[in-house]
């Protein structure tokens, strides 16, 4: 069964249509990349999936129930594009607060910090961290309480290559354990880390394929070129 099933989703923001009758599904227990240029509607789609976006039409079904249903609040982890962290608290205080809100055990704090490679940063004030460190604290809060679905909005942006590689390895390990991940990025070179790709352009789905399938279909070896080929064909 698909972890996320979307049919005819329509979203307007600021009076303009952003998503126009989008239909797609996201496979359970895999890493799905949501790729597209900035402004293509990735964040809007993710907001609709976690149930914080007012939608104009269509249905969004997450883990078998309508998006935003109260029972999903413990089962879905969401990382906003801008880090949602209290800057005047330490890293550990931030995580302990979210753990209590989520009803997650205290031990999950250390596990989440290890996963984002921030062990040893517990007592640092969040406001004193670099942008990349801050977004990893935000990511760690979503890992608390072992959610079944992780919706991550550009979690690897601004991170150095080593950290990016480690995070993608961590995502793959989570998928191995059965967690479903939907990860957005506007950088195509992240696409190869994903089991499946959803390519968004101007709020429309231009591809729903595996990285290999995408290469084959476009006859391009480079995913950047493959994406450009698709965008130009559909334009």
């Amino acid at each position: 069964m698909a972890a996320i099933a979307i049919e005819e989703l329509t979203v307007n923001r600021g009076g303009a249509p952003v998503l126009k009758g989008l239909s797609l599904s996201v496979e359970a227990g895999a890493v799905t990349g949501l790729l597209g240029p900035s402004g293509s509607g990735k964040s809007t789609l993710m907001r609709a999936i976690v149930g914080v976006q007012i939608v104009a039409g269509g249905t969004v079904t997450v883990l078998g129930v309508p998006a935003g249903a109260p029972e999903l609040r413990k089962r879905v982890g969401y990382v906003t594009q801008a880090p949602a962290v209290y800057l005047d608290l330490t890293v550990a205080e931030n995580l302990r607060y979210f753990a209590r809100v989520l009803g997650a055990p205290r031990s999950s704090v250390a596990e989440a910090l290890a996963m984002v490679d921030l062990g040893g940063f517990e007592n640092r004030l969040a406001g004193s961290l670099s942008g990349g460190q801050l977004s990893r604290v935000s990511l760690a809060t979503a890992l608390l309480g072992s959610p079944e679905l992780l919706v991550l909005d550009e979690p690897t942006v601004g991170l150095d290559p080593v950290l990016r590689r480690d995070l993608w390895a961590a995502f793959a390990a989570l998928a191995e354990r059965g967690v479903t991940l939907l990860v957005s990025s506007h950088v195509m070179d992240e696409a190869d880390h994903c089991d499946r790709l959803l390519l968004l352009r101007d709020g429309e789905l231009v591809a729903d394929d595996t990285p290999a399938g995408l290469r084959e279909r476009t006859g391009q070896t480079d995913l950047d070129d493959a994406f450009l080929a698709l965008v130009e064909v559909s334009a």
């Binding site: 307007n12 923001r13 600021g14 976690v50 149930g51 914080v52 976006q53 007012i54 935003g68 109260p70 609040r73 413990k74 879905v76 969401y78 906003t80 801008a82 880090p83 949602a84 962290v85 209290y86 800057l87 005047d88 608290l89 205080e93 607060y97 979210f98 209590r100 809100v101 989520l102 009803g103 004030l125 809060t141």
Partner: protein, 244 residues
């Protein structure tokens, strides 16, 4: 509604305040300093100081909590933490009660310090019970908090939020009876003063200071509690899980 989440929120808000010692110092020290100022402005007239200073002890918390809460809540909205919290099991009521609890703790400290200075150093004299004055100060703090929480929904920036102080609080201070007896106002203002929460807060404090009318204090306190519940409920409706 989940008591553990509300408590966690209260603890978190207090931790944030503790990280900002300057704000904390201002909240705790400005009221006694202003009271001292009043004491020497009314140097020749201890009676006037008693009449104005006593109720002021209970009105400061209202003003300060109004500002502190509206800014804190605005930050929660603009920093993305509110959007994040709204995807968690946290109930709106848990969040509001957490804030209420945290600021009530600060209000008790604020009122105790202000009363301590006023009664021991400034010679403020009340016929009624000091404990009642402190209790009313705490109710007023929670009232200020609830009002600030609600009005913060209408501010897009901290500049706007701060402007709600003169817009929402100053008229109430003018009309509540502290500056001039309400009976001396033009009829329209006199009638308007009945629907302003601070009128009842002042009425209760004036009775507590004068040591008259316990029944009226209870009535006023009940009105204030009603307003608090209404403001918190209105505040809850401004916390939206879904936004555009």
């Amino acid at each position: 509604m989940n008591a553990s989440v509300a408590l966690a929120t209260a603890e978190r808000v207090l931790r944030q305040l503790r990280r900002d010692p300057r704000t904390l110092a201002l909240v705790l020290l400005v009221p006694p300093l202003l009271l001292t100022l009043f004491r020497y402005v009314f140097d020749g007239s201890q009676l006037t100081f008693n009449r104005v200073g006593g109720p002021l002890v209970g009105i400061f918390p209202f003003t300060m909590m109004f500002v502190v809460t509206s800014i804190a809540m605005l930050r929660e909205r603009t920093s993305g933490t509110l959007e994040r919290l709204m995807t968690t099991p946290l109930g709106k009521l848990d969040l509001l009660l957490g804030y209420a609890l945290a600021f009530a703790v600060v209000a008790v400290a604020q009122a105790c310090i202000a009363c301590g200075v006023a009664f021991s150093l400034l010679g403020l004299n009340v016929n009624g019970s000091i404990a009642v004055v402190i209790g009313l100060a705490v109710i007023n703090a929670v009232l200020g908090m609830a009002t600030g929480l609600f009005t913060s929904a209408f501010a897009r920036s901290e500049f706007q939020a701060v402007q709600f102080l003169p817009a929402v609080v100053f008229p109430q201070i003018l009309l509540c009876g502290l500056i001039a007896p309400r009976a001396h106002m033009t009829h329209v203002l006199y009638v308007a003063s009945f629907v302003l929460p601070l009128t009842w807060a002042y009425d209760a404090l004036a009775h507590a200071v004068a040591g008259t009318g316990d029944a009226k204090i209870v009535r006023d306190a009940l009105i204030l509690l009603g307003v608090i519940v209404a403001a918190l409920s209105l505040g809850a409706t401004t916390l939206r899980r879904r936004t555009g």
